[in-house]
Chain length 416, copies 2
């Protein structure tokens, strides 16, 4: 057992929002406020930029009830950031600044709540602090709707997004089949390189009513085969519902969304192409070939901030991941990310938590196994359903006001 | 009191789906099954087309529990149709056929569940039957997310769609303000000529977090003024969220969506232009002028089939409207539509039901009063909020299976 390390802590949030990233922040903040050795709890405004800019909110000043509401508030309440840290061996300017701010506030604990890129940031900070001889325990708390973090069975944020997608696909499936005059509907789902979210659309079909065809980026997309498959079902049923990942690409690796979309020109701070317009493009192509009425629906931001449909399983795991990060750091751990392991008992879903070295997860991507996708590459298999279904279970209590969601109202008192 | 009319009944559904149109169908079917004078209850497959095609489902054969599930099943479970009936004075072919089918099944009650166009269909059938000397009581049960039916305070379907829109705007509002690097988000909301749905986006702002600007089709859209307003807020806040009706148009009446969208070429069976692509177009224009990261989000079908967010008030009223149509017809009424009147008691919302002659509502449109929109034409006033807020109240019990919605599974036994 390490000796107790006394000092302040910082929690930061990074990357794209999820329905439960604030639940993890709540887990961290609550556990840190309750820990005797943690003298002050700061929330960094807009992730690591809040540290660099010395803009830290004092969480100790918040109303405990408002902090509770964080569990039901989507998006990153402390503000998010997409900022790629330089390698400290090449340029350590930012790291020096971080160390300066850490020293100023006597920060001995740093918790970073994010996806692949954030775990990389976390890892670099951890290594720099060690090298600088400054004792600070650094822990990663995972989040990503994409579910593509390496080394963990699944990731907080995924279950809720999957539930949003499955529910929406179920509802649209009813609507898209209502006329007898023919209708082709394409739903575009997030997930740049991994098809976990697109695959979740199949949960709707499994549970009663959903897409006929599901396309994941793990399989090269064959445009002609796609049209054949869709038109065959359309001719048989008079309608067809298709779910496609934004990241589907041809065998040369070119995104299908780039075939015809003007939105695909821009790249974000990490050099990832920004995708969009795929659903309308696929729908238009099928319209050309069939003359059918078509509709392209992009789930867009809705799928990642749909907190009113959060999975209780996901929400609870998100809180616990935050809490475990704090408890483990107090116990002496550093340079680790909280991860999940599935250890089902008698066929009943059981999730256990563990810690993984940050360097073993940073910048890696976990994709859907090829064998969880059918041979034709146009749907998922029962293995995928069995994997995803437990993660969307349960409806948590959602506080409302006027029958609309009641979100946290934080005071966000800035530290001097 | 009229003498009791014995015979079968038909219920048909028409027009665009809503979250609660099946709740009205349930109200009709349940009341009709329970009525002694109604000998058989038929559901027409795809509205009036099911009558013309002699494709009627026998509702008496359905499991009562499955009929209960109709209350939670979005879209039109019997199938919908968009079919414009000729004026019987010009061409009575369809009406002769309807009479033939009515006689075949001894149909003495006809309930039609739809919007403006459906009330017109209903009215024509009612007048034709009277003229033909065939006793059949014809009643309209209103539905439309657009809330544009004349003569009724509001319309079943609107409250649930408004709740879906307000909740989604609230969630997106959190997501769209998460980065400190600037973000402009435009949400496109249904409503061709009336701004009830677009205005409902403002409920999110009223309840904590929502759009900064709201555009309704009741006010001519000034593109330059819009850009000025949006950019001013963007510069002040670093982000701006805009909600716009698909039906906004310039002072010459040209739809803004037609300025640049290729989707706007087609027209539906009623000659209405099909709108789409507006959000992306407005967002692109603001991107050109600011260089900001932008996102256009179209709520598309999601807003009309979002049954998991149904308003309990709306759902209950939808069921009651169906039930009242049956009870009134049995009592001797015909050629009427069920309508709502608001008679608040001590500031508490109270909705009472009444009957209106079909010809007084058919083909008319109710728009948002100009004085419920602010002078600048870029938001609604408190009057609008006070009108809409009671309609989204309450969360009904939603049956689920595997934590996803459990919809009705009807046998749909076709009558010989």
């Amino acid at each position: 057992m390490e000796k107790t390390l006394r000092g302040a802590c910082i929690i930061g949030q990074s990357g794209g929002p999820t329905a439960v990233i604030n639940a993890s922040a709540y887990g961290v903040i609550r556990a840190a406020l309750d820990a005797e050795c943690i003298t002050k709890v700061y929330g960094a405004a807009h992730g690591i930029k809040g540290v660099l800019d010395d803009k830290l909110y004092i969480m100790d000043e918040e109303d405990p009830q408002e902090l509770e509401y964080l569990k039901n508030t989507p998006s990153s309440e402390l503000g998010s950031v997409r900022y790629k840290m330089e390698d400290p061996d090449r340029d350590d300017t930012d790291y020096k600044r971080i160390l300066e701010v850490f020293k100023k506030y006597d920060v001995r604990y740093f918790f970073y709540n994010g996806g692949n890129d954030s775990m990389d940031t976390c890892d670099k900070i951890s290594r720099y602090m060690k090298k600088a001889g400054y004792e600070c325990r650094v822990m990663g708390v995972p989040k990503t709707i994409d579910n593509d973090l390496w080394g963990t069975d699944h990731c907080p944020g995924f279950g809720s997004a999957a539930k949003y997608i499955a529910t929406s696909c179920m509802e649209v499936s009813k609507d898209a089949r209502v006329y007898d005059t023919g209708m082709i509907t394409v739903m575009e789902i997030m997930g740049r390189h991994a098809g976990w979210l697109a695959g979740s659309a199949a949960l709707a079909t499994y549970c009663g009513s959903g897409p006929d065809l599901v396309y994941l980026p793990e399989v090269d997309f064959d445009y002609e085969k796609f049209c054949e498959d869709a038109i065959e079902i359309y001719k048989k049923q008079g309608n067809v519902l298709i779910a496609a990942s934004e990241g589907i690409h041809d065998k040369e690796g070119k995104f299908i969304s780039e075939y015809g979309s003007k939105l695909a020109e821009t790249k974000d701070a990490f050099g990832h192409a920004q995708l969009g317009g795929l659903a309308v493009q696929l729908a238009d192509e099928l319209k050309k070939r069939t003359g059918a009425k078509v509709r392209g629906i992009e789930l867009s931001l809705l799928q990642r901030c749909g907190a009113h449909l959060a999975s209780e399983t996901d929400l609870n795991e998100a809180v616990e991941a935050g809490r475990l990060a704090v408890e483990s750091a107090i116990a002496g751990e550093t340079g680790k990310m909280v991860a999940f392991e599935r250890n089902d008992v008698d066929g009943k879903y059981v999730c256990e938590m563990m810690l993984l070295p940050l360097e073993s997860v940073a910048n890696l991507e976990k994709k859907v196994p090829r064998e969880w996708i059918n041979e034709a590459g146009n749907n998922v298999t029962q293995e995928f359903i069995d994997y995803a279904l437990p993660l969307i279970q349960g409806q948590p209590e959602r506080p409302t006001e006027h029958s609309l969601p009641r979100y946290a109202h934080l005071k966000k008192v800035v530290a001097k």
